[in-house]
Symmetry: C2
Subunit: 226 residues, 2 copies
């Protein structure tokens, strides 16, 4: 989808009314946040009642993929044309201002809206499954057994084309009311990062199977800032 423009068009629900300087419609910024997130939060509405599923995602170009069981009520409603929203948030730091009101966090978030489409073309579906496996663990796909016919049929893949949405980013120190800088109160940021530990091998590994580098040196893209 190389013809898409570099920025999304704002819409009424993606126009930020508060702190608009924290928002961006830039596709590259949106892609980078999506790519670093391990999961997304998939919002749906059935009979006017909201629901959310936390789920693995993947991105290929301007398309976000999610998947789940073909029996999943929410995925079925979305496949049938229901509106969706996809949200991801990365927490980079706690922000300690000098007042309760200015306690905050540094974060990078994306929210996307739109109808989703069920991916029924076998080739796109297999590619989407590959993209999701590689999204979480780059390098993994070549080592695992691919989906068999039953798994493929039991799995529903949904696609959201990145068309309506926005990213929000807060970074830097607290921003306090001018008079509060006179307070003898510590202020600053506590950086947070999601750090991988030492891989634990499964108890039933065949002899001689080593931990692959993508597991022993695991890291997210763009790790880490405060």
């Amino acid at each position: 989808m190389g013809t898409s423009s570099a920025a999304l068009e704002p819409t009424p629900r993606t126009t930020l009314k508060r702190a608009p300087d924290r928002g961006t419609y830039d596709r590259e910024a949106i892609h980078a946040i999506l790519d670093e997130a391990l999961i997304c939060h998939l919002g749906f509405s059935i009979g006017g009642k909201p629901g959310i599923i936390p789920t693995i995602l993947g991105r290929s170009g301007d398309t976000v993929y999610v998947h789940g069981s073909t029996a999943n009520r929410a995925l079925r409603a979305l496949a049938a044309g229901g509106d969706a929203c996809v949200e991801v948030t990365l927490i980079d730091a706690l922000v300690l201002g000098r007042s309760a009101f200015h306690q905050s966090m540094n974060y990078r978030s994306v929210i996307l809206y739109g109808p989703m489409r069920e991916v029924t073309d076998a080739q796109e579906k297999l590619e989407a499954l590959r993209v999701m496996v590689e999204h979480a663990i780059p390098g993994r796909w070549k080592d695992v057994r691919g989906p068999n016919v039953q798994e493929f049929q039991r799995t529903m893949v949904l696609a959201l084309d990145i068309h309506e949405g926005t990213a929000k980013v807060r970074s830097g120190p607290p921003i306090d009311d001018e008079e509060d800088y006179e307070l003898a109160c510590w202020a600053g940021v506590i950086p947070l990062e999601q750090r991988p530990g030492v891989p634990a091998s499964d108890g039933r590994l065949l002899p001689g199977v080593d931990v692959p580098a993508y597991a022993s040196d695991y890291r997210r893209p763009g790790e880490s800032r405060s």
Copy 2:
């Protein structure tokens, strides 16, 4: 709310159809997951269209609090009686099975449903703000300037009583198809934890103000498992 029972009553939308052994309605389990989460994902529906706001939360007994600007469209819709859902997810590990189908994550998640109520009683509202500050940074409230009249009036607090919902937990090694254990493929888990870094003091601190222990030794409750 000491009279509430130890477990939530299942409802049609909180009855898990897949992997029901991963679900629990136990209040203590639900509370522990809520308490460890830095943010929640607040789902709403306006005109049948779903939306999600990532936001700070706090818990007091069987009540979850969130807050935001009184101008916020979603919070206003929820205050007016719209249905809400509140979701939190903690990622504990990546789970690498021997097949693409069995790639997974270890996680602890909670989803709660219900109408929210706007907290208008000044005493409960102030207490809710305290609970939210302390939720993210235990020990912080006593050191910061409390909300002034303008801040208090510009802030909307919403409460969700924990009544309908469920927790889901996956832990442990991958669970592969029996025949896949013959594959010469590494399998196991990569633990993940959200780790705090060294606090960075704000550039305008008054002389002699030290980093408090709650910042230099910051940790989440129940940190960390895989």
